[in-house]
């Protein structure tokens, strides 16, 4: 197998249809009133919002715009609003600054210089609001995580990853970009650097240490059982870079699974209770 960009090309119409059917089916089976999702103006959340609106209609898709003062960016907010207009999605803007300030003040030993701990509060606050709306309006939370970030754990545990369904989680970032373009997301949204916006100036590719074009091919190699050395050789990457990506992938399993529990009894939640989602 040769790791070339072509290998990540997907049948866009088929992918769109499959995701739409998946969303429609889940909403129907759960008898929910619709979908609620966060809209940051970035590519993942914009594509997620559009896909959900295409599946069940914009009038059943609720977008929450949740800026906060430190990372607030007018361009991003405008992008989110633009997507909402384009796909006729109903939106609510909630400035979460006050909630965060309250958390910072309330936590006795709050440490503002710990960017990770502070930044994750932002992602988790957004999750709290999404689930408030889900509960109060009988909606399903649709997360916008993609496969690249899910594999390397580049998200906040119980934060932006928290959702009932993640329609595009089996698409690498560069595949989300292809799909975004196909369904009509504006080039400006597709091209701008991805950021989790946990602190000012944070960009995903800088933090991950490689471009998504390279990262996706490395991860595709792992997905297809390729050896680290072969991936590095084919992509002309230092072996240490590929090994570091592999470590990130393996070390993030705790973020993807149910919490680990000691096996003490006959059948154990998260281990050998294996039940279907679709239940009578």
């Amino acid at each position: 197998m040769q790791l070339t960009p072509d290998i990540l090309k997907i049948d866009l119409e088929e992918t769109k249809q499959k995701i739409a059917r998946f969303i429609e089916d889940y909403v129907a089976k759960t008898k929910a009133e619709g979908i609620v999702l966060g809209m940051s103006g970035g590519i993942d959340s914009s594509t997620n919002a559009a896909l959900n609106a295409l599946a069940i209609g914009g009038n059943k898709t609720y977008g929450l715009l949740m800026p906060e003062k430190e990372t607030e960016n007018k361009i991003d907010i405008n992008h989110a609003k633009q997507v909402a207009r384009q796909f006729k999605i109903r939106t609510t803007l909630i400035d979460i600054t006050k909630i965060l300030d309250s958390l910072y003040e309330t936590i006795p030993d709050f440490e503002p210089s710990n960017l990770k701990a502070k930044g994750n509060l932002k992602a988790r606050t957004r999750m709290v609001l999404l689930y408030y709306y889900a509960n109060s309006r009988d909606l399903i939370v649709a997360g916008s995580s993609d496969k690249s970030e899910s594999m390397i754990g580049y998200y906040t545990k119980f934060g932006d990853i928290a959702a009932d369904i993640t329609p595009q989680q089996d698409l690498y970032k560069t595949q989300v970009r292809q799909l975004a373009k196909y369904i009509g997301i504006a080039e400006a949204i597709i091209r701008k650097p991805s950021t989790p916006a946990l602190w000012p100036g944070q960009t995903a590719e800088e933090e991950i240490g490689t471009s998504y074009e390279k990262l996706d091919l490395v991860l595709y190699g792992f997905e297809h059982f390729m050896e680290t050395s072969r991936i590095a050789e084919q992509l002309l990457l230092p072996i240490k870079t590929v090994e570091s990506i592999k470590r990130r992938w393996l070390n993030a399993e705790h973020k993807r699974r149910m919490p680990l529990t000691p096996k003490l009894a006959f059948r154990t939640v998260g281990k050998d209770f294996r039940l279907p989602y679709d239940n009578v």
Binding site: R21, F22, D25, F273, R274, L275, P276, Y277, D278, N279
Partner: protein, 277 residues
């Protein structure tokens, strides 16, 4: 025995774990098929329970005969139709030995059952966790032809269809629960198995979504010369009917003489190498 029969590929979606719902749906399809003068209706793999039942398999399993086979027999009798469907079979006299089984029912009662030989346990499939593999690959001589059954992943192994053909099968029913990314495999293999054995092959897949898995439908009747006589819709439920003319077998066997050209000595070597793998 009939020279010609009309067959219906009943591509349904199932409600996981709800046998009453699924039997009710099968009843509707049977009635619809009967109006089309269908003599044999075929439902997908595990059509009684849905495919992704996981640990619920233990409570959904039934023996044969059992309450569900009796209900299906009644439907076959009332509609004067042959029915092939899938269920979780609990073997008689054991506590929890289960099989992924296809049941073949005639208007006069159940003719037999086929227990899946090859149980996929890779990727999203976990069948060996629940099921024991079957050890018999029978052909049933009926009023509507000599019919054999395989289940889904069995079709990846040419020996299953070949064995049925050598036992005299004129029609092979392949009941399936194949998720969308595997469509190409089955579209290739259904033609290959029909052609290499010069046999009719009725492939019936599940439709709809279970546990996020999208079953692609696309059920089809392939003729002994590898043509698609009829194909059901992709993804959605459908009932596709077609005529099978057994007299075509002799004509096609003459043109594609794979059975005449079989080399038995190769099977001995195959057996040896498969054991050493």
């Amino acid at each position: 025995m009939a020279d010609q029969i009309k067959v219906a590929l009943a591509q349904i979606s199932c409600k996981v774990g709800d046998k009453a719902h699924n039997i009710h749906k099968m009843a509707r399809y049977i009635a619809k098929a009967r109006k089309e003068n269908v003599e044999l209706i075929i439902f997908p793999e595990l059509s009684l329970t849905g495919y992704t039942m996981r640990d619920m398999a233990y409570e959904l399993a039934e023996s044969i005969p059992g309450p569900s086979t009796k209900k299906m027999e009644k439907l076959a009798r009332q509609n004067n139709i042959y029915v092939i469907y899938g269920m979780v079979e609990k073997t008689l006299g054991t506590g929890a030995v289960l099989h992924n089984t296809a049941v073949f029912t005639s208007p006069r009662g159940t003719i037999g059952r086929y227990r899946k030989t090859y149980l996929p346990t890779h990727s999203i499939f976990e069948e060996k966790r629940y099921f024991r593999q079957g050890h018999e690959i029978p052909v049933y001589s009926t009023d509507i032809g000599k019919i054999g059954i395989v289940i889904c992943y069995d079709i990846f192994f040419p020996e299953t269809a070949r064995l049925l053909r050598l036992k005299g099968a004129e029609l092979i029913a392949c009941i399936s629960a194949s998720p969308a990314i595997r469509r190409n495999y089955f579209e290739t293999l259904t033609i290959a198995r029909a052609l290499e054995n010069t046999v009719y092959l009725a492939y019936v897949n599940l439709a709809g979504i279970e546990d996020g898995l999208q079953f692609w439908g696309g059920s089809r009747l392939t003729t002994p010369n590898g043509k698609i006589a009829v194909q059901a819709k992709y993804d959605d439920e459908d009932l596709a009917c077609a005529l099978i003319d057994y007299k075509d077998l002799e004509r096609i066997e003459t043109f594609i003489p794979t059975l005449r050209d079989l080399r038995p000595e190769l099977f001995t070597e195959l057996e040896k190498l498969a054991k050493e793998l």
